[in-house]
Amino acid sequence: MSKSPKNDLIFNIDFDEYLDLEQYRERGGYSALAKALAHDPKISIREIVDSGLRGRGGAAFPTGKKIEMLRNNSETVRYIICNADEGEPGTFKDRFIMTHIPFQLLEGLTIAAYLAGASKGYIYVRHEYPEAQRILRSGIQAAIEAGLLGKNILGSEFNLSLELFSGAGSYLCGEETALLSSIEGKKGRPRLKPPYPTQAGLWGKPTLINNVETLANIPKIIDKGASWYRQIGTVDSPGTKLISLSGDVKNRGLLEVPFGVTFAQIVNEYGGGPPIGKTIKAVNIGGASGVHVPPEMLNTALEYKACAQAGITIGSGAIFVLDNTRSILTNVQNRVRFFLHESCGKCTPCREGLRQANNIIDKLLRGEAGVKDVDTLERYTRAIVNASFCGLGQAAGNSLSSSLTYYREEYLAYCRENRELNSKEETA
């Protein structure tokens, strides 16, 4: 397990250390909540807006703006939900926040609830994370006993009742409207937006939904101020990003890097590069819903704008390295099968498009497909990306479309025409 450099960043997670409430407070924890409660919420919201913090779950929506939308809503019953349904394959950063620094998350959530005017909240944790659920349950209890949750928090007028809500094994519930349906006891199927959850969320009430990593940023911003925060990272993307690094690199694990470092630095400096004697063939950035890009693109900076221009999805910050012995087709097929399993079946492009994509890749791998099938695969990919109902369906086509762009030759090499050509050359 690799460690982040010993800078004063946002999380500074030490793999070998769990911070309990007492230790967290000794290190200045909960001073941000006290500070926020002592001031007009508008001041703290301004601080979060100025910090430039954006949603770290994948959508990168400006967090301060989202809180402001809740604040300005005339409906008084409001909810806060922490999205801890970390299901993106290749991602484990939220798990480490929950198991190592749970009180930084609970403090951030409490501040966000105060600023948004929410008095009831849920942390939606996936069922596959029983350890995180246990730690958070006891953490919530400890915070209630210390007067940091529940009624009259830190002696103020502010109340927040917080509950842990367990998922039940559905990737789709990481999509915020599907998550709402799940809490309401329905199938975790996405809803049409608008209305956005900030307008009509849980039980139809305005709801602030934020990712674990996003909320855990907030105590540092309130405590040290937006100008301190903006010293880390870049002008376009302030702060840090937690990176889940896996695959064919020497050091796999969790990293905290300031925005602005390049993907090459992450893979080679933090990750130690590919195993000895191997080279990098592709890097999958953003998990199963992310893209496969060639090593030439790794000089791109980890930054929202630069990545958007290069067609790279930062997503949850999962980085998965493939060395030169790996097959692009089998890796992309793994992603396609994952989405096929997780598709809720509501819309045709996602449900049927993925099924056909899987069939075509099968056909290619069996050596029975032709160049025409690759064209068909491209057409279906466009349909999945452009016509799926929800963001997850649209993102399901990313690994297909990026690999068809950068590794088309590998698809074509499996085609009948090219195999015949190759075998003729061999016999000649």
Partner: protein, 161 residues
Amino acid sequence: MKNVDVQDIINRFDNDKALLLPFLLAVQDAHPQKYLSEKAVNEIAQTMKISRSRVYSTASFYSEISLKPRGIHLVRVCANSPCENAGKALLLTAIEQELGITVGQTTLDGLFTLESVSCLGACYMSPAMKIDDEIYGYLTPGEVVSIIQKLRKEYRNEQIA
């Protein structure tokens, strides 16, 4: 076999709004075979005053809820790319041979159910699997076989004692 007291479980929930999903998980957890039986579904529907189809609709959607009886130990092997590239297929073959079942099945003695699972968030120690609440990583086929044998031995010793 001991019956699951659905009413008793719902009484433990003090929500102003009864939430279906935590209720389903609690009833499943209370069943020795970790699943929702038809009887339990009927009782849940009656207790919550909703239709049985509503209960089934929700229950059948989620991978972690089973409508089939399962074994005492749930063995779940991660199927996603990081684990697949790290040798998941070899692990699965070793487990299938050791247990004599394939993914989705339960051993005849009712001790193990083998499932395939989406990312366990343990990619840094791939290939990974989860047995009940514990995650195992950096696995080799030999290791998974000895973990299973150890659990089987523990169970037999408990039966004798």
